[in-house]
């Protein structure tokens, strides 16, 4: 029994780590925001959930007993992650030059989100307009 639980724990740990890492990896690897956001918001959440489950199991065997309250952490995480993801997408949408217009128009190509380069260009333009910079 202990062995089975330990093996389950190890499995959950490995899977959890994998997904947490995967989420971050997607963040780095993928080329645009709307691609990247899929990684961390879901994979990482799941990964953390696995690790928490592993923790519950581990504690039940090696620690002070069964502490299901750690699962509450997962509950909160699953409750809040969509809010965060939704808001970040809204934010990205609001910075997009070509936003998916009205409903029912089907797919749209992805637009460009205002980034550092745009801001640099804007600032340079502003400085040129002001003529000089003082500070």
């Amino acid at each position: 029994m202990r062995l089975a639980v330990d093996i389950a724990t190890l499995f959950l740990l490995v899977v959890g780590c994998f997904f947490v890492f995967l989420g971050s990896f997607a963040l780095v690897k993928l080329s645009s925001f709307f691609h990247r956001i899929h990684g961390p918001t879901k994979a990482s959440t799941l990964g953390v959930g696995c690790i928490l489950a592993a923790s519950v199991l581990h504690r039940a065997i090696h620690g002070t007993g069964l502490h299901p309250r750690e699962l509450l952490i997962t509950v909160f995480l699953f409750l809040t992650a969509p809010v965060a993801a939704h808001l970040m997408s809204r934010a990205a949408l609001s910075l997009m030059d070509r936003r998916p217009e009205a409903p029912c128009s089907g797919t749209e190509p992805e637009g460009h989100i205002r980034d550092d380069a745009d801001e640099r260009a804007e600032q340079q333009a502003r400085e040129r307009a002001e003529g000089r910079d003082d500070g």
Binding site: A26, F34, A43, P68, L72, A85, L93, T107, E110
Partner: protein, 162 residues
């Protein structure tokens, strides 16, 4: 009368269970305290919420949750492949999904579900709350996608949040 004492029974139950879980204890003292909080919390929340969610068929929540969990795991593996594979094979895109759900709590729940399922992400609710903008990491057939979402998640949710 009951409505005044427990303006939201679901919430009271949630809090009660929540407290017992947190305290990891079922002594009389804890139970009394949990009951007290189960009464108190909705009272306080009532001052902040516009309305409490009305739950229709609560019993389909459990199978829905299980289905969701499974979907999450499966879809995560899919996404893992997509992420680890070459990016140019992806066909991402935005899709407007028409909604039949009118209850805002239902819409919220659907949004969460869509977001939690890998590969899809809700980005916006149209102002008239009739369409949901979803971003898909890889979508071959938008219509198929819309159908699947409506059937798999929206339908049960309409029963939960009538």
């Amino acid at each position: 009368m009951i409505a005044r004492i427990f303006p939201s029974v679901p919430q009271s139950i949630t809090v009660f269970v929540f407290w017992l879980l947190m305290a990891e204890d079922a002594s009389p003292g804890t139970l009394v305290l949990a009951a007290f909080l189960a009464w108190l919390m909705p009272q306080i929340a009532a001052r902040l919420e516009r309305e409490f969610a009305r739950i229709g068929e609560a019993r389909i929540l459990l199978p829905l949750g299980a289905k969701l969990l499974w979907d999450v795991v499966v879809a995560n593996i899919t996404v893992a492949r997509q992420v680890l594979g070459p990016e140019d094979r992806l066909k991402p895109g935005f899709i407007w999904i028409p909604l039949e759900l009118t209850n805002i709590h239902g819409i919220s729940a659907l949004t969460s579900v869509i977001t939690l399922t890998p590969g899809t992400l809700t980005a916006e609710l149209s102002a008239d709350r009739s369409h949901l903008l979803v971003h898909c990491l890889h979508v071959e057939d938008p219509e198929q996608m819309i159908r699947e979402i409506k059937q798999r998640y929206e339908a049960p949710l309409r029963r939960v949040f009538p």
